[in-house]
Each structure stands twice: as C-alpha cells, then as structure tokens.
C-alpha cells in the first residue's frame, strides 16, 4: 500500500479563502469535520440501527408476547414462550444435538487444519498448488456440498461412492443418511463440514505460522530437536493467539449450523418430521411454518445465550491456561 498510485491532485481547486477571523474559521472547520463524519458513518449507522438494533429490540419484546401470525406487540405473556420452548422435547433435543456436533467437529477441524498448515508450510515447491487444492472446497456453498454428499458420495443406493468402495470389501449398501443407530449420518455431516472448512482455517494457521520468528527454529535445530519436539515446544506455543481466535470462530460457526443439516434432512421430509435438526432449524420451523414469532424470538435469544456461554467457557479455560505460563 504505497501512495505512488495516487491520482494527481486537482490543481484547479479553490484555495482556502483567507479567513477574516481565525476563530470563525476554526468553528466552520469543526462543523465541516462533524458533517463529514456524519455523512461517512450515516449509511452504516442507519443500516445497523434498523437491521440490528430495532430488529433485536423488537424481537426481544416479541419473545415476551403472544405473537402468532402477527408481529404486533401487546399481548404480553411473560416468560411463557421461553417455558414452552424449554419444555419442548424436540428443541431440547436439538440443543443436545448441536452441542454434540460442536464437540465433534471443532477438535477435528482444528487438528486437521493445523496439520495441513504445518505440512503445506514445510514444503518449498508446489506450496501454491496444495494451498489451492485445500482451499477450493471453501468456494462451495453448504447447499452444493450437501447435494454432492447426499446424492453422490453417501447416497444410500449401491452406486454411491461410499457404497461402491464398501462393495470392494464385500459390504452391503448402507443408507448412510437414514441410519440412526449406529448414527452413521454423523459421518456424512462431519466429513462435509470438515471438507468445506479445513482450507479456510488452514490459511489462518499458515498466516500464524509465518509470523513465528525463524531464529527459534534455527536454535531448535542446532539443539538437535526433532520435528515433533519442535512442534510441541515452539510452533504450538507460538500459535497460541491464532489458535484461540480460530477456536472461537469454529465454535460459533458450529453452533449456528443450518444449511447442510436443512438440505440433507429437511428437504423432502415434511418440516417438523426431520430426524435430525439443529436449533436454528427448529426456530426456522417455528417462525416460518407455524408463524409463531413470539416463540421463535425466544428461541433466538436462548440460542444466543448458549453461544455466549460456550464462548465464555472457552475464554475461561484458555484464560486459565494463559495465567499459568
């Protein structure tokens, strides 16, 4: 970012009028500043005001009112909406589901993307190719990936890739998505998200790796430290801040999962009957199918609460780790 490509300043500009009274000039200069600030920040403030502040405030009030097929306020019911949701077994099930899913996908993605980053960062030749290969899945939407996973890789018919491979070993065709016990559909969900996200986080880890001073590695090599020892004593501790940031991103993303779950389980089944649902899917059903905006809003705040709790918990655990060293 240099100033060399600056366009030529326009030379025909009116030179600043010689001010009669410097005080007045300072005042008008101040006003000009405020005006410029207002113009530059207005679109963002208005947009966030309407789509965040007003929206969330309204929704918060709706969560305390009876609001079926209406978004009008007034029919206050206290905490009924929250109670109704929390006593709804399917919503509670969706919360359990998403916590399990998060506990599974986050460590896996973390380990896989860190491993890839270390490997890619180690090679000299072909680094760009490997980076592209691993990043390319990030271009694919969850819906598109769900199509490939559901209809081709893990489709229940014998021509699916997983079943074709299984047949090589004499296995019978398996309905991967429909099998609930053992829950084979977890393999489908986890591999999909892993494939789609691993490249993104790999990029972040590579950026972190490249900010580690080289002399540390040289010192370690002089001391005869092997690759594993080097990783444990230098790379991993030096990636601490990167790791904490990445973990946070992964947690938040996993807890809000919707697209691929919806595409795999909901389309085709009538809504509400899908075997696997995330909290967001449940809320989508409540708000869009039942048009119960009160309960839906309550759910949005419960989900926020869950996300905030998990991130606080993560902060606490990792915060303690920091205090120790």
């Amino acid at each position: 970012m240099t100033a060399t490509d600056t366009p030529p300043l326009h030379t025909d500009a009116v030179p600043p009028a010689p001010a009669a009274a410097p005080r007045r000039r300072r005042l008008s200069e101040r006003r000009a500043k405020i005006l410029a600030f207002a113009v530059l920040t207005a679109p963002m403030l208005i947009g966030l005001g309407i789509f965040r502040y007003v929206a969330i405030g309204w929704s918060f009030l709706l969560s305390f009112s009876e609001a079926r097929r209406t978004i009008a306020l007034g029919d206050w019911v206290g905490l009924d909406n929250y109670q109704q949701l929390l006593s709804d077994e399917r919503f509670r099930g969706s919360l359990t589901m998403i916590v399990l899913f998060t506990a599974l996908i986050v460590p896996l993605t973390f380990a896989a993307s860190l491993g890839l980053a270390v490997l890619v960062n180690r090679v000299r030749r072909g680094r760009a190719f490997f980076r592209t290969a691993f990043l390319l899945p990030a271009a694919v939407s969850y819906v598109a990936a769900a199509m490939i996973w559901k209809m081709s890789l893990f489709s229940g018919v014998p021509s699916g890739l997983a079943n074709t491979l299984g047949a090589l070993f004499g296995a019978d065709p398996t309905p991967w998505i429909q099998t609930q016990s053992p829950p084979l559909y977890w393999i489908v969900l986890v591999t999909l998200r892993l494939w789609l996200q691993v490249g993104l986080y790999m990029i972040l880890f590579i950026a972190g790796l490249q900010s580690i001073p080289r002399h540390l590695y040289e010192a370690a090599e002089l001391d005869g430290a092997g690759p594993w020892r080097t990783f444990r004593s230098i790379t991993f501790p030096m990636l601490r801040n990167t790791s904490v940031a990445i973990l946070l991103l992964m947690l938040i993303a996993a807890l809000q999962a919707f697209d691929e779950f919806y595409t795999i389980f909901s389309t085709g089944a009538s809504l509400g009957s899908e075997p696997v649902r995330t909290p967001l899917m449940h809320l989508y059903g409540v708000a869009l199918q039942d048009q119960d905006y009160g309960v839906g809003s309550a759910g949005a705040f419960l989900l926020t609460l869950l996300i905030v709790l998990v991130t606080l918990l993560q902060g606490r655990i990792l915060g303690f780790a920091r205090d120790k060293d």
Partner: protein, 301 residues
C-alpha cells in the same frame, strides 16, 4: 508474548540424549520431505474427489449415474444436462442465477464501500462522540449472526420486503466487522497523504474520495471478494425472504431439486456445477485477495 523467551529455553535436549549423527539426520530430512509430499498429494486427492464425482455425474446419463458398475468417466459428454436445467418451468433456474448474480454484484461493492466510509471516519476524523459511534457499531458484533435472522425477518417483513430484491439485499449491506477491519487499516495509514490533500484545499470528503479510496484498493478487493462469496453462498436468509420461485437465489433453486417429485440426477449435478462455478473460478483467479481477506478477518476477531 512471554513464550518468545521461553521457547528457546525449552529447546536444549535433556542430558543423556545423544545427538544423532549428521548423515542420518540428512537422510531423515530427505525421508521426511518425501513423506510430507506423499501425504500432501494423498490429502489433496481426497479433497478433490467431491469435485471429480460432481463433474463426472453432471456429464453422465441417469443410467450411468445409478449404475453399480463403476465408471471412471462418462461414456459420452452429456452437455444437454446443462441446457436442460434452464427449460424447467417448475424451477426457474436461469432466473435464480440472475437473482444471485444481482445480489452478489450489488452487495460486494456497496457493503465494502459503506464499511470503508465508516471505518475511515472512525479512524481519522476526530469529532466529539466518536467513541460512542464506534461502540454502537462494535456492539452489534456481540450477537451471533445467525441469531439475528428472525429479528431481521420481522423488520423486513413488516416493511414489505418478503419476495423483493431489496429485502434479499438490504440486511447484508451492513457489515460491522468490516468496519473494524477498515478502521484498523486506516489507523495505520500515513498521515502525509491526507495533509497534502488538505493543503490542496480538499474537503474531508474530497480527501476520502480522491486520496483514501484509491489507496485502499487491495483492502477493498480482499473484503469485497469475501463479501461476494458470502452473498452468493448465503442460504438461510434467501430461504426466508425468497418464498416465491421468482425471487429464489441459485442456492434455493438447487435445494429445490431434493423436494421435487422425480429427481433428475444428472441435472441435479449439472445445477450444482453451475452454482459453484463462479466462485471456483474466482478462487482460482483472485486467490491472493481471498487468502489475504481470510487471513485478515480471521485473525482480527
């Protein structure tokens, strides 16, 4: 950053462990790099399998796709799967592609410009109350994005935005996180440029438009690319707002394949190819900007 100091201290090998002789170490690194390449090639192949399966299926006939006899490649390339996509009256695929294109092409520059404007003002124009404005903007980041979908739907719905283009686009134009990124970018911007502009009689807005914006192109390209990707791939919001097939985006049209009575498999895969192609091309062409954008936005959080 205490670990900077700690790390070398842990490096000395514990007493009693003898240093491996030089030759075997050399062989070790050679073996190591061969293994590294081998592992990377294998993993890259696994990563590319879904793309291969998708392309293969998109160019096959239905009997070929569903055949239990494995075929590496289609017998003949059936491009008609792609043309067939566009003449199904039940699923306006062409229209939905157009909608997605409009949404992404409008969202990326406008959202990036708004964020840059606010970021610049917050970084460089000192006015009373600036900290409050910054807090108002940063405050929206505390709430997870997907949780705002229902509140936003309530607001947009009440303004008549269901099934409209503006309803699909408007809420995505305000990215508080990009404001934070632009702000820290402009905070480290050399002050000489602005001073020169001011001396030349440019107003604050003039300085921004003529000097700051042209000097933020890499930043704008990176965040604009990410914004384009998000807009193109977004699903939940268009699913709620675009209820009428005419306001579907390409992601919605794609998911509608699974709800239709009879699934034309090759056409489904052809549709998936079309849906991901623009971004795959973008990733291949503008990877530098995308990588930069990802690294920037990921590590700032």
């Amino acid at each position: 950053m205490t670990s900077t100091l700690d790390a070398p201290r842990t490096a000395p090998r514990p007493a009693g462990v003898k240093r491996p002789p030089r030759a075997s170490r050399l062989r070790g690194t050679l073996l190591g790099s061969v293994l590294t390449y081998l592992a990377l090639c294998l993993l890259a192949a696994v990563c590319l399998i879904p793309f291969y399966m998708l392309l293969r299926n998109a160019l096959m006939t239905t009997p070929e796709v569903t055949s239990t006899d494995w075929q590496w490649l289609p017998g003949a390339l059936h491009w008609e799967n792609f043309t067939g996509l566009f003449d199904n009256p039940e699923r306006p695929f062409g229209r939905s592609l157009m909608n997605s294109l409009i949404i992404a092409v409008v969202t990326a520059p406008v959202a990036t410009l708004f964020a840059s404007m606010a970021g610049y003002a917050l970084a460089r124009i000192a006015v009373p109350g600036r900290a409050v404005v910054l807090a108002l903007i940063v405050g929206t980041l505390m709430i997870p994005q997907a949780v705002t979908f229902l509140p936003t739907f309530v607001v947009v719905g009440s303004m008549g935005g269901v099934n409209t283009m503006w309803g699909l686009i408007a809420p995505g134009l305000f990215n508080a996180f990009a404001v934070v990124l632009f702000r820290s970018f402009y905070l480290s911007f050399p002050a000489e440029i602005e001073e020169a502009g001011r001396l030349d009689g440019l107003s604050h807005l003039g300085v921004y438009r003529r000097l700051i914006l042209p000097n933020s192109t890499t930043m704008i390209a990176s965040l604009g690319a990410l914004s384009f990707i998000d807009a193109w791939n977004s699903f939940l919001w268009p699913l709620m707002i675009g209820q009428d097939p005419n306001s579907w985006t390409v992601q919605i049209a794609l998911s509608s394949f699974l709800t239709s009575q009879t699934v034309d498999l090759p056409e489904l895969f052809a549709g998936t190819v079309v849906a991901i192609l623009p971004l795959v091309i973008m990733f291949l062409v503008a990877q530098r900007h995308i990588v930069q954008g990802i690294a920037m936005s990921g590590l700032k959080s």
